[in-house]
């Protein structure tokens, strides 16, 4: 069963408080779509609208070709995994996984086999008789995923599934989720997260959300290399955003001229120059800018140097330095013209 998800101008409001404002988004069958945004951006609300736990004040939600806007959650045919797992504490692991099958009255003879398959798929086959409280966080998460997959949903909703795990477990589970998706290529996944690494690693496409609205949507590469809004640029990859003025055939940053592809940005207006910290180098090069060091952070393999250039802070991630520059000393930073993206001022706010 393969079915995508479609939001058709979906708005959700609590009283006068609009938490999701006219969302238009399509998740293709078999696609992993990440909803990325800070807390309060409406991403979880969008997921809950698909699950049926919030009812939109306007707009329609489709799963496959079916309009599910008015359907109660139990008739939507979705699998869902939430941050706090919500395993039933009074049921053993196998009973948790069998819950959906029994509730949907699957043929009795089929249930043990499907439970075993689901547990095997998530590597939890050896824990069938345990109670959830006897498992670690990572194991509980696997059981929660097995429980959602056992009902063979066409759509899997993951709401910050890894945020309760520690960093090491998280990267392991991330690889695990990617493998599961390769094994189940027909399942569409809507993955809500505030962590850009999760989104960049796992998603076919990322929808960036902020303040109840969809700000940007594209493949991870598109969003990272050519963000369309300043919000996307700073949220995905933490880019340097520098105000520049665009003249005819030239761009200047605080008096210094920089070479950059102006693209569709018209001359004579303000614009934002966006360049990733790891593409900024210390020393002379193309597009050199003079500045003073305001802070140096050692991050193991790299140093992050904050340089004040004409009143704007520029972050540069450089390979670990033997002799990091002293605070207050003058340095030169540079970046290649092709590594920078120019955003028209009008899109700064999305």
């Amino acid at each position: 069963m393969s079915s995508g998800i479609r939001f058709d101008s979906v708005s959700v409001a609590y009283g006068r408080n609009v938490v999701l404002d006219g969302l238009d988004l399509t998740v293709e069958p078999g696609e992993v779509m990440a909803l990325l945004g800070p807390s309060g951006s409406g991403k979880t609300t969008a997921l809950r609208a698909v699950a049926g736990f919030v009812r939109p004040v306007s707009g329609r939600v489709f799963i496959g070709d079916r309009d599910v806007t008015a359907l109660p959650p139990h008739r939507r045919g979705i699998g869902m995994v939430v941050q706090q797992y919500a395993l039933f504490p009074h049921l053993r692991v196998e009973e948790n996984v069998a819950f959906g099958l029994k509730a949907q009255k699957a043929p009795r003879a089929e249930i043990p086999g499907r439970v075993a398959d689901a547990l095997e798929m998530t590597g939890m086959g050896g824990y069938a008789k345990r109670y959830p409280r006897e498992l670690s966080g990572g194991q509980q998460q696997r059981v929660a995923i097995a429980r959602a997959l056992a009902i063979r949903p066409g759509v899997l909703l993951l709401d910050e599934p890894l945020s309760a795990l520690d960093a090491q477990l998280r990267s392991g589970m991330l690889a695990e989720l990617a493998r599961l998706h390769r094994e189940l290529p027909d399942v569409s996944i809507l993955y809500v997260t505030h962590d850009q690494v999760e989104a960049l690693t796992l998603a076919d496409r990322i929808a960036v959300m902020d303040r109840a609205r969809l700000r940007d949507c594209g493949t991870p590469q598109e969003l990272y290399r050519a963000p369309r809004t300043a919000f996307t640029a700073s949220f995905v990859g933490n880019a340097n955003l520098l105000p520049v003025s665009v003249g005819v055939g030239s761009v200047s940053l605080g008096g210094a001229e920089v070479k950059v592809d102006t693209g569709e940005v018209a001359a004579g207006v303000g614009a934002t120059l966006c360049v990733r910290p790891h593409l900024v180098g210390l020393g002379d090069g193309p597009n050199s800018l003079e500045g003073t060091v305001t802070e140096v952070q050692w991050r193991g393999a790299t140093h992050r140097v904050y340089v004040d250039v004409a009143g704007h802070s520029v972050k540069a991630d450089v390979r670990e330095l033997r002799e990091p520059p002293a605070l207050g000393s003058g340095v030169t930073v540079h970046f290649a013209p092709e590594d920078a993206v120019l955003l028209a001022a009008g899109v700064t706010d999305g």
Binding site: V12, Y14, A51, G52, F53, V54, R55, P72, P73, H74, R75, R76, G77, I78, G79, M80, V82, Q84, A86, L87, F88, P89, H90, F99, G100, A103, Q104, Y131, R133, R147, A148, I151, L157
Partner: protein, 275 residues
């Protein structure tokens, strides 16, 4: 213990023994002492005897105990069912979020108020109300055991409602939502997820209702038929005619029976708690 210094600990224990023990434990000890007493004219009872107990566990007294146990069992089961149902309904009505109109939230609050009424109204009034209401057609229950059980149920449902309401409020909605997302209908979610998770609170509520019903006197006095005399009524009657020691023995029997049932219920509760 939150007090850490040795002196502080001693001081707290002293206060406990001097103030609380006499207040709470001594009256009960006096009852136990009186139940064994043949005479009590000095500071302490004398002529110890077990005669009161042989009287208290035979014939009409034994029947009164059975009556009390049956009444309490019936009343607490009715109260638990009605109170849980109403608490679940009120929680559903009051739930915030989508589709909840102001009207349904109002209905939820009305249910709250309705179920607090029997606590606020004196039980004599409840007894009288039940008596008046069921003494005329269409439903005549006057002089039956049913009316006693009914009055007890009305009185204790409020407590069941409140403790189950509090438990529902603490129940994480994520369980219910996870079950719904797995395709479980609301009734299936109720029986397989919500009620099992509420079980510890339900047994606690049942125990509370049982204990309250075992001790109920004032409404019972207005309603009981001669062939359905609960134990508190017999204790009152015994003391009223001057047989204080017999009354004390009956009181100890009532206390012991109630405690035994509460203990059994709390054993079930420990087995039913998951976290």
């Amino acid at each position: 213990m939150l007090v850490h210094s040795r002196k502080g600990k001693w001081a707290t224990w002293t206060v406990f023994f001097v103030l609380f023990l006499p207040l709470f434990a001594l009256p009960l000890l006096v009852i136990v002492a009186a139940s064994f007493a043949g005479h009590w004219s000095g500071a302490l009872p004398s002529d110890f005897t077990a005669e009161h107990y042989s009287a208290a566990t035979r014939g009409e007294s034994l029947q009164a105990l059975t009556t009390s146990l049956l009444t309490a069992l019936g009343a607490s089961l009715i109260a638990l069912a009605a109170g849980t149902w109403a608490a679940l309904a009120a929680a559903a009505l009051k739930r915030r979020g989508d589709g909840t109109s102001r009207l349904s939230r109002g209905c939820g609050r009305l249910l709250d108020a309705l179920f607090i009424m029997p606590v606020a109204v004196p039980s004599v009034v409840v007894g009288l109300a039940v008596l008046v209401a069921f003494s005329k057609p269409p439903v005549i229950l006057n002089g039956t055991s049913t009316i006693v059980v009914l009055a007890h149920a009305i009185l204790v449902t409020a407590f069941a409602y409140q403790s189950v309401s509090a438990a529902i409020l603490r129940l994480d909605p994520a369980y219910e939502q996870a079950a719904a997302s797995l395709g479980a209908r609301p009734a299936y979610v109720l029986w397989r997820v919500k009620l099992p998770l509420l079980l510890p609170s339900l047994t606690a509520a049942a125990g509370l209702c049982f204990a309250l019903s075992m001790g109920e006197l004032s409404a019972t006095m207005m309603l009981y038929p001669p062939d359905w005399t609960p134990l508190p009524v017999r204790i009152y009657a015994a003391t009223d005619r001057g047989a204080t020691f017999t009354g004390a023995a009956l009181a100890v029997v009532l206390m012991a029976a109630t405690l035994l049932v509460l203990f059994a219920v709390s054993r079930i509760r420990t087995r039913a708690s998951y976290r």
